[in-house]
């Protein structure tokens, strides 16, 4: 995974609460088998008119927000479905940082698996960032993960909280399966005393390796 240390980028506003993952990547794109290429489907139903013409009424389609890499939005961002297609789309579109008063749990987790930094700030600070984004065309923020700060060119510096372990993994781009497998011995020891393979009593109509071997 791509490490995240410091990032400066254009801010795009999405002034809506409860943006759900169905809205980020609609169902029809969840039938694809890859992890790549979802950026062009992001916010599909809001973003496009029939024939995939860009919808000029959609905030992110405004010329001033093209090339944005920091998304500023409202509470409970990423609610709904667990589909990781949503953060894949957000990242592939070009976002690296998301700022909101709160995120839904599963989406928040999924961000860290994809090198995305979700930043939680109090409502008043998010309001202020919205004001500044609207007021200053080309409004940029610099995010320093190491220092846990966010700053603009107009003397604003904010600090943000983040769990130290998540920070460490993101800074180093760590693959957490690899980290877990370092505890292989502990998993094996646990499994020895924790027997949970289900015993099957009746015939069940499923494919299994045992049935395949018959």
């Amino acid at each position: 995974m791509q490490p995240f240390r410091r990032h400066t980028g254009l801010v795009a506003p999405l002034d809506r609460v409860n943006v759900d993952t169905d809205q980020m990547i609609p169902k029809q794109f969840c039938k694809l088998l890859t992890r790549e290429g979802y950026g062009k489907f992001l916010f599909y139903d809001w973003r496009y008119l029939p024939g995939e013409r860009p919808n000029p009424a959609f905030e992110l389609n405004q010329p001033r927000y093209q090339g944005a890499s920091i998304l500023l939005t409202r509470a409970n961002f990423g609610c709904g479905s667990s589909r990781e297609h949503a953060p894949w789309g957000v990242a592939d579109y070009g976002f690296r940082v998301l700022i909101a008063p709160s995120f839904a749990d599963i989406f928040y987790n999924n961000c860290f698996k994809n090198g995305l930094l979700p930043i939680t700030l109090p409502d008043e600070q998010v309001d202020e960032l919205f004001r500044r984004t609207y007021a200053h065309p080309g409004y940029q923020l610099t995010v320093d993960l190491e220092a846990q700060t966010l700053s603009d060119d107009f003397d604003l510096t904010l600090t943000f909280p983040i769990d130290p372990f998540r920070k460490y993994c993101l800074l180093n781009g760590l693959d957490d399966i690899g980290l877990t497998l370092q505890h292989e011995d502990k998993i094996r020891a646990f499994e020895e005393k924790h027997q949970v393979t289900p015993v099957q009593y009746d015939d069940v109509d499923m494919w299994s390796p045992e049935r395949a071997a018959d």
């Binding site: 957490d176 289900p198 499923m206």
Partner: protein, 473 residues
């Protein structure tokens, strides 16, 4: 030892490893998989040269994209076919058990887990699907995960997890006739909000919950995620044990008694502490109908569509305005005068036998309104379907003008060809009324199965309490 909640007991029993300042490593007892969110996880595993650690604890099913019509026909949707083929190949290569679309035990993942007895009290259960919270109705710790986490569980049978906060929702009072588990959970979401449970595991308790059947309890836990909580749980009791006994993967004879004794130690200790406590009295609760584009935008069936101006918070107000625009509803419209185009009875929230029995009672001897273009009944599993047919429910639905389909997610998500067309309005027993959820431009109102059935007959919402049907469960 201090007094523990059920969540803490299950957590502690699954703790593989814990270091200060890091997430705990939690063991996963059951990993459920479907065709929608798993292919990239298997691909990642393969690319890293890793294997599935415990195929014996991993169960896969085809549910999201399957046709609910004739499955002997070839799959014409290339993308869906590729998903099915990928799941087949992944299961065969790794030894993961699979219920394919032709299995007589196929169904929606959250219906078949409990139905087959794979879901048991005290287990940790994950699935790449947010409604995994359903399984918590048995006193299991069950939550949805993303695709990267699926890969993690496949490779390690564990997950690094931060401990959640706990929320107790105590449901008091007796449920009035015509008011169902669905109405209770919609009322809860209306009360605490769609982010009210964020960061929490919810435990539902109180007489309003313990009086529910297992089906009703699953409906409640299913929609925990709609309140922002990853997991919802209900303490196992005699209702739970009775429902489980004799299911294919549930221990039998003396082993069952041993299991029951251990399950009885799971409920939260009296006096255990929760981070948040919420109470809801349901003795006066009315049937609920959502009017907006989140499950928290909900009203009594006797109420009206609210005026956005009545929302104090400007952000909420804008959200309500946007929702009414999408839903094409005017403030002040009585809920019962909202006309409908389609009705969907199905999904992992409300497609179990009890749901279908109750809906059939409403429908029996009546006809679907001529203004309804389509009324669908999609059983949650093929076992539910078979049992319903044995009881003649299919004939009741068909005689009334409903379509009777094969099992799957169907119009809950519209990944197969059961799609709500743009501009049309649907009374749905599913769990999400998000913009475009059932089909781009489609307008969803969430209700209980009996409310959906009555709406199909009337062509608009009606207060089921006035219908005088028995409504026994």
């Amino acid at each position: 030892m201090s007094k523990q909640t059920m969540y803490e007991k299950i957590w502690n029993a699954h703790l593989v490893h814990q270091e200060d300042g890091k997430p705990a490593l939690i063991y996963i007892d059951r990993h459920l998989i479907h065709e929608g969110t798993s292919p990239q996880a298997f691909a990642g595993l393969r690319a890293a040269g890793r294997r599935v650690r415990r195929p014996d604890l991993t169960f896969a099913v085809m549910d999201h994209s399957v046709s609910t019509k004739d499955r002997t026909l070839p799959v014409l949707d290339d993308n869906a076919r590729a998903q099915f083929e990928a799941l087949w190949r992944n299961c065969r290569e790794t030894g993961v058990r699979l219920f394919d679309m032709h299995s007589r035990h196929q169904g929606i993942v959250h219906i078949i887990g409990p139905e087959l007895g794979l879901t048991q009290p005290g287990l940790t259960i994950v699935c790449g699907d947010s409604h995994t919270s359903t399984h918590g109705a048995f006193g299991a710790l069950a939550f949805g995960i993303g695709t990267s986490e699926i890969e993690h569980v496949l490779a390690t049978q564990t997950l690094p997890q931060f401990k959640s906060k706990t929320m107790l929702i105590r449901v008091t009072g007796r449920r009035p006739p015509g008011v169902t588990a669905k109405d209770i959970i919609l009322a809860i979401i209306g009360k605490i909000g769609v982010a009210g449970g964020t960061g929490h595991v919810i435990e539902y308790a109180g007489e309003g919950v313990t009086a529910l059947s297992m089906e009703g309890r699953m409906t409640v836990c299913n929609m925990s995620i709609e309140a922002g909580a990853r997991a919802g749980m209900i303490a196992p009791d005699d209702t739970t044990f009775a429902w489980m006994e004799g299911r294919p993967f549930v221990p039998r004879g003396k082993d069952f008694q041993v299991a029951v004794e251990s399950w009885k130690t799971l409920p939260s200790d009296p006096g255990a502490r929760y981070d948040t406590v919420v109470e809801l009295d349901i003795s006066q609760l009315a049937p609920q109908v959502t009017w907006g584009t989140t499950p928290g935008m909900v009203a009594d069936v006797t109420g009206v569509v609210p005026d956005p101006a009545s929302f104090a918070d400007p952000i909420e107000r804008r959200a309500a305005e946007r929702a009414l625009e999408y839903m094409a509803l005017a403030p002040g419209t009585p809920i019962t005068s909202i006309p409908l185009d389609r009705v969907f009875i199905g999904s992992c929230t409300n497609s179990r036998l009890e749901d279908l029995r109750m809906a059939a009672q409403v429908v029996e001897g009546r006809r679907v309104s001529p203004r309804i273009k389509q009324a669908l009944v999609v059983p949650g599993s093929r076992l539910v379907k078979a049992q319903a047919e044995k009881e003649g429910l299919d004939r009741i639905f068909k005689a009334a003008g409903f379509e009777w389909r094969d099992a799957g997610c169907s119009m809950c998500i519209g990944m197969n060809d059961d799609v709500l067309p743009a501009g049309e309005r649907c009374a749905s027993t599913s769990n999400r009324n998000f913009e475009g959820r059932q089909g781009k431009g489609g307008r969803t109102h969430l209700v209980s199965p009996i409310m959906a059935a009555a709406a199909a007959i009337a062509g608009h919402f009606v207060d089921i309490r006035g219908w005088g049907v028995g409504l026994v469960e």
